[in-house]
Amino acid sequence: MKKLGLARVMMALMRREFAVALRQKGEVLTPLVFFVVVASLFPLGVGPESALLLRMAPGVLWVSALLAAMLSLQRLFATDYIDGSLEQMALSSTPLGLLVLAKALSHFLLSGLPLVLMAPVLGLQFGLDGRALGILMVTLLLGTPTLSLIGSIGAALTLGVRGAGVLLSLLILPLYIPVLIFGAGAVEADAAGLGFGGHLSLLAALLVLSVFFAPLATTTALRISLE
């Protein structure tokens, strides 16, 4: 049998993830609708004053994005675990870390990227101007891949465990705090005239760190779950 290059294997896995997602469109759309619903609940909860909403907008949109990203994480490995394909991935000659990276990347493209594209529409509802919307989108673009990567650790740890959904959020949400702080902080820092470059650099640094470390931790966790 011809040995495939690593990049080819990763591409093939990502194509498969997309094919699976497109056949069950609900799994891609539900977190997105959830994101819109949660963000729309906040004005109903705190009142319609535009000054207050404007100040809250980056934080609210970021927290909603965190929760929406959590929703789809449970299924990252669960279906592959049930039908046995995860075991085949662990046994294959391709390093499991790279396959995990490919799966996390597809998770970002399927659940993070739609949030990035939907965020400006919700931002308009909160009265953010063009510049703030732009910064918000860039922070989400840099931050949501980190969410997928860190989330993959939690998804692997809670594989086949009782009450995995709630447990996953308990494990992962505290680890999301730095991303939340720098993501929502960038818009506020810009509004305060402090410049947002530092926040973006830190978000990028978190992304680089998690690209390197998260697949390692996830691989270890997956091998423990598959024992």
């Binding site: 009450g163 680890l175 902080g185 402090l194 423990i224």
Partner: protein, 246 residues
């Protein structure tokens, strides 16, 4: 060649460690009781009343040791978890799970005493200060560890999964701490500066140091007692446990 080598891995066997812990814990318990007695006596009767804070400051003698222990225990727990993954020893995972509830208790105690102290001093039970917030997040990390441990039935798998979680957590703790600190300085809310360290009377310092050591001894005692229980529970099918509990 007459060098004496201590075979440390001898104690990696649960049976040997069960006996060792049984011999050690009374010593630590005695030390903990004595030191806590002396420390509390100094903190209530010897240490002078603070010029600014009056008698209310005396909660520091519980608050500071509890905060320190909550952080140290997490690191120690992660270290045991790392040993467990590296050497594949059963005992390491048991030690990590024996430490976790004590760490969570200290984190909670630190937050509770902090709130009790904050109310008379700053007029608020809670402020979103960097230290308070990171202590709260540390408590969440402990609770996550305990919840993961509780929801996996196979103890070996639970130990390993929790080990990965503890190591991921220990890498994240500094990142979380500094991000919370920066978040706090950006907001400049009604925060109170906790970092200025007033010069302490030496009796206050001694009282606090003795209380810190007492908390260490307490934590070690409880961890040893708890690990003994865990060993008995997990090794219940073996012969030696049947003899040990007779």
């Amino acid at each position: 060649m007459n060098t004496r080598v201590i075979h440390w891995f001898k104690f990696a066997s649960p049976q040997n460690f069960y006996n060792l812990a049984g011999r050690m814990w009374p010593w630590f318990a005695t030390l903990a009781t004595l030191l806590a007695g002396v420390g509390l006596w100094i903190s209530f009767f010897v240490a002078p009343t603070d010029a600014q804070q009056g008698e209310g400051y005396r909660i520091i003698f519980v608050h500071v040791p509890a905060s320190q222990m909550s952080m140290f225990i997490y690191i120690v727990m992660a270290a045991w978890a790392g040993f467990g993954l590296a050497f594949n020893t059963r005992l390491s995972g048991m030690m990590a799970s024996a430490l976790a509830p004590t760490g969570a208790l200290f984190a909670f105690l630190s937050l509770a005493t902090g709130a009790l102290w904050g109310k008379p001093m700053w007029g608020a039970w809670w402020v979103w200060d960097a230290r308070l917030t990171s202590e709260l997040i540390l408590l969440f990390l402990y609770l996550g560890f305990l919840a993961l441990q509780a929801s996996i039935d196979d103890p070996r798998r639970a130990d390993k999964a929790c080990a990965v979680l503890a190591l991921v957590g220990v890498v994240n703790v500094p990142i979380i701490y500094f991000s919370v600190k920066w978040w706090n300085t950006l907001h400049q809310g009604a925060s109170v500066s906790l970092t200025r360290s007033p010069t302490m009377a030496s009796t206050m310092l001694w009282g606090m140091l003795i209380m810190v050591v007492a908390c260490w001894m307490y934590a070690i005692t409880i961890a040893l007692l708890r690990v003994r229980t865990i060993i008995l529970e997990r090794e219940r099918h073996t012969e030696w446990v049947k003899h040990a509990v007779e």
